[in-house]
């Protein structure tokens, strides 16, 4: 539940940033992709983020055509890392295999940069 709310809030934050900031829109325009965030245990409880032409849409559920998936081992770990003020915590989670990056790595890194 916590993770679902966090991802919903992240989608709203990114959407508002894309409306309010021309710089952020330019940043978004550098790549078009679909990214899914989910957990290993509950693959169905996912959120998909579609970035296309400088616009961002997010919706509940797992987009089957995703270019990249961030698959967390569990929701608590995901929430802890994503809410941490230390950006290294996400990398540490990658280093511990607490999150697996499936598909194109560059989109995951781009998304993590946007979500900072």
């Amino acid at each position: 539940m916590k993770l679902s709310l966090l991802l919903l809030a992240l989608g709203i934050k990114l959407k508002l940033s894309s409306i309010a900031s021309a710089g952020f829109r330019r940043h978004l325009r550098t790549n078009d992709f679909v990214l899914v965030i989910r957990t290993e245990a509950l693959p169905g409880r996912a959120r998909s983020f579609q970035i296309r032409g400088g616009r961002i849409k997010s919706r509940r559920g797992r987009d089957e055509s995703a270019d990249t998936e961030l698959v967390w081992c569990d929701a608590d770990t995901a929430v802890r890392a994503m809410l941490s003020s230390n950006e290294l915590d996400v990398f540490s989670a990658i280093g511990r295999s607490q999150v697996r990056i499936l598909g194109n790595l560059s989109y995951a890194l781009h998304f993590m940069d946007m979500a900072k």
């Binding site: 990398f91 540490s92 280093g95 295999s97 697996r100 194109n104």
Partner: protein
């Protein structure tokens, strides 16, 4: 910006460019100061510093001296340097002889693996313009593990790149590549071996696919080409990765890696003159007439070519075979040492690099941070998290030093004394 993406923020208290020149002694002392802050050669073995780290210190010295002796020469003006040009042609001939390429193969020098890969795609693009004129939006199809330089060139030029997910064995999934090939595909490629995992793609199957579809096939042997040639002579079995596969039209192999020449020097070799002709481009749409160059660069330093000539002549086939055997011994020693640490596991690799997993649940990047602090510089892989070391023909002492440091670091990471924060200064 560094390999890991860091950008050093330096502030300058005063002008760096002096009004009046300094003495030679002052200048050299200051240069020593810069160099003294860098990684120690013997510890930095894990990054590709091959030339300075090779076991054979005489060859390393000769390679450096040769580079220095030709440092002022620019291969852009070959006509004026008959001797240097002859030397350069002899190096190209040795590349053909070493790598067992066909007699009529055509070698071109480049500044490194990246430029070789740029040339491969560009040559295929120029070929397609002539031979496949209907393709307006060319695309290339490659395994996900192919070197990132291919994506870079495609970004520069607007060519579409399709990176196809690997098979369960982390090698190119040839069936998936076949499915991804369309009427717009001009080029496919495989690695021998790939940089992320040290694994050979199935070049034979990729070559057959390229032949059946009439498209360009490139083999990226930038890292392993010059090692493969000699480990094979030493009796070590490798997959058939070169022009023995009839669909292969070009191969890249770096002389500044296991050729032990000074940087920057790589080669791209075309199966024959017919394919090479698409590599060369001499623009003449300016007042000075045709501008002929070796590859993409204009000015081309002769020093690294001289260093390649010198080290090839000094070592000879027997010397290279000895170094190749040493690489295999070093690899075995790494594997035994690393696997003896609880929870650590080396992956099977065909040649070099060697990659390994840290114990389950442990932060791979914390381990790297601890190794960096001890001057053992490794490279990361993120999918999955792995640590990579390049297999150099170093001494047992260097390998044991690395393994000892790794054991110590793993213990300290377990205790929480080393974390990812240790890696932060290097990121």
């Amino acid at each position: 910006m560094g390999y890991f993406g860091n950008e050093h923020q330096v502030s300058f208290a005063s002008r760096v460019f002096p009004k009046r020149g300094r003495t030679e002694a002052e200048v050299m002392a200051h240069l020593d100061e810069f160099g003294g802050k860098d990684v120690d050669d013997n510890h930095g073995h894990a990054i590709v510093y091959a030339m300075t780290l090779m076991n054979h210190l005489d060859a390393a010295r000769i390679s450096k001296v040769a580079n220095m002796n030709f440092v002022k020469k620019n291969m852009l003006f070959k006509e004026l340097m008959v001797g240097t040009e002859r030397m350069s042609l002899e190096v190209k001939r040795m590349v053909i002889e070493i790598l067992n390429y066909p007699d009529d193969a055509r070698v071109r020098f480049t500044s490194g693996g990246s430029e070789s890969l740029y040339c491969a795609i560009n040559t295929a693009r120029q070929w397609a313009k002539v031979e496949r004129p209907r393709i307006a939006e060319p695309e290339i199809v490659v395994p996900y593990s192919i070197h990132a330089a291919m994506s870079k060139w495609c970004r520069y030029t607007g060519i579409k790149i399709k990176r196809v997910p690997l098979g369960p064995d982390f090698r190119a999934d040839v069936k998936a590549i076949e499915k991804a090939v369309t009427a717009n595909t001009i080029f496919i490629a495989g690695s021998a071996p790939c940089w992320p995992y040290g694994l050979y793609d199935n070049i034979e199957a990729l070559s057959a696919l390229a032949e059946s579809r009439g498209i360009w096939m490139h083999v990226d042997a930038c890292l392993g080409g010059f090692l493969a040639a000699f480990v094979e002579r030493a009796g070590h079995k490798l997959p058939v990765w070169d022009f023995r596969n009839p669909g292969v039209r070009s191969i890249s192999a770096d002389l500044h890696k296991y050729g032990f020449a000074c940087k920057p020097l790589s080669s791209i070799t075309y199966r024959n003159k017919e394919f090479e002709k698409y590599h060369a481009f001499a623009p003449s749409d300016w007042p000075d007439g045709p501008y002929n160059t070796e590859s993409m660069l204009g000015s081309t330093p002769a020093g690294p070519i001289a260093s390649a000539w010198a080290v090839m002549q000094f070592l000879g086939e027997e010397g290279y075979v000895d170094l190749a055997k040493r690489c295999l011994q070093v690899k075995k020693r790494y594997i035994e040492g690393i696997n003896a640490i609880e929870g650590m596991k080396c992956w099977e690799s065909d040649l070099s690099p060697l990659v390994f997993e840290v114990p389950r649940g442990m932060d791979t990047f914390a381990v790297m941070g601890g190794l960096f602090d001890r001057q053992f510089y490794c490279l990361p892989c993120l999918q999955p998290p792995l640590i990579k070391i390049i297999v150099d023909p170093v001494t047992d002492e260097v390998v044991d030093g690395f393994v000892g440091a790794l054991r110590e670091v793993v213990d300290l990471v377990k205790k929480g004394s080393i974390t990812i924060e240790n890696l932060k200064p290097y990121m």
